[in-house]
Each structure stands twice: as structure tokens, then as C-alpha cells.
Amino acid sequence: MITAKNVTDAAGIIAAFEPDITAALTAYNILKTIWLTVNPSKTEADYKAYLQTASQTNIDTTTAYLVAQGYVETPAGSGNWTKPTPTP
């Protein structure tokens, strides 16, 4: 028998999973677009520029994030990150 409690519980369970499903669906749709995109009339230099730009974007966005989280890159631009332990 379905009761108000059942419905509430079910709604709560679904709500708890929504971030998971939403993030997964969003990521999937973006990934699908990336992998199915065809770039006609591009030259070898264009594809190399694409690789360069996408790589630099990953570095730039994550660097901004990691710095904001208190990580330190040593030496700068190396990709070697540590998070100093806060001194009491």
C-alpha cells in the first residue's frame, strides 16, 4: 500500500540522487558533443592549435581553482602542487 510516508521517502531518495544524475547527464552530453564534433576544412596546424588551446585551458582553470584552495605550485608552471599544512 502506498502511503504518504512512502511517497515522501521516495521523493527524498530521488532528490538525494538528483545531483548525481544531473551532473552525469550534463557531463555525458558535453562529452558526446566533444567526441562527435567533426571539424571540416581544418589543417594540421588547426588541430595542433586546438590541442594547445584545450591543454592550456585545463591548466588555467585548474590553476585558478587550486590556488583558491590554498595549493602551491613549485616551481611555478611545473604542475607539481602541494597544500601547505596550516600553522597553528
Binding site: F17, A27, N39, Y50, L51, S55, N58
Partner: protein, 155 residues
Amino acid sequence: MRQLAIALLLVVGGLVTTACPASVKTGVSPIADIANAGGKIEDSGQAIFQAVVTAHNTSPTTVSQTVEDNVALAVNKLGHAGLALNTTLTAYNQAKAAGSDLTAQKAAVQAALVAVSDFLASINKALPVGTIQAIDAIVNSIIDIVAQVKLGVGL
């Protein structure tokens, strides 16, 4: 509902696997194919990073701060690996234009491509199993595609 969504995503994830190789091949040159695959991998890393950031902001219990940090660290390394891959592609072209022996250059390109795919795998590992299941499946699909690219590299 969750299992249905996950099952759906796994199914369409499989479609990505089968549909991707054709889009990776550029018809321009092997160097263009590798650069294209590398660029798509880099874009995928960014998409996953953004999804993780969104998931963390929406539900910190679904994606913890530690997971978010680990994904960011992995995507940062992926970016550096992508730049390294591009450097090896440039070196290959320069050696080819100079008429030099390309054995070492081919090996360098392969190694750089392996590094890129390994860092993509590390992004997947940074996401605990069950965190964002569909991403697990998609990353594995992409790694399979990279393996196909490596096998098909016609340098």
C-alpha cells in the same frame, strides 16, 4: 530511477565508443589525428572537471572537497601532458622536414600520447567508484578510443 538513469547513460556511453573513432580521424594527416584526439581528451578533462565542480557545489555529500581537489590536480596534469604532446608533434614535423631519422620522434609521440591517456585515467580514479557512475563509464570509453588511436597511428 537512479538505476534507470545510470543504465541509460551506460548505453549511450557505448554509443560514444562506437561513434568516436570516425570523428577522431581527420583525413588530414596522422599528426592531425593525434592532435585532434589529444584536443578532445583535453576538452573531456575540462568537461569532467566542470561537472565535478557543479556536483560539489550542488551536493557536497555527493562529491567531496577532496574528490574535487583530486580531479583538479589530475586535470592540471592532463593539461601539462597535452602541451608536452603538442611539443612532440612539433618536433616530429621538424625532424621529418629535415629528413632526420624519425624513430626517436615516433617513440616520443607515442609516449606523450600514453601520458595523456594515463592522466585521463587518473581523473577517473580520482572519482571514487559510484560517485558519478556515468563519468566512470565514459572515461573508460575514451581510454578505449585512445588505445585505438595509438594502434592506428600511421606516423
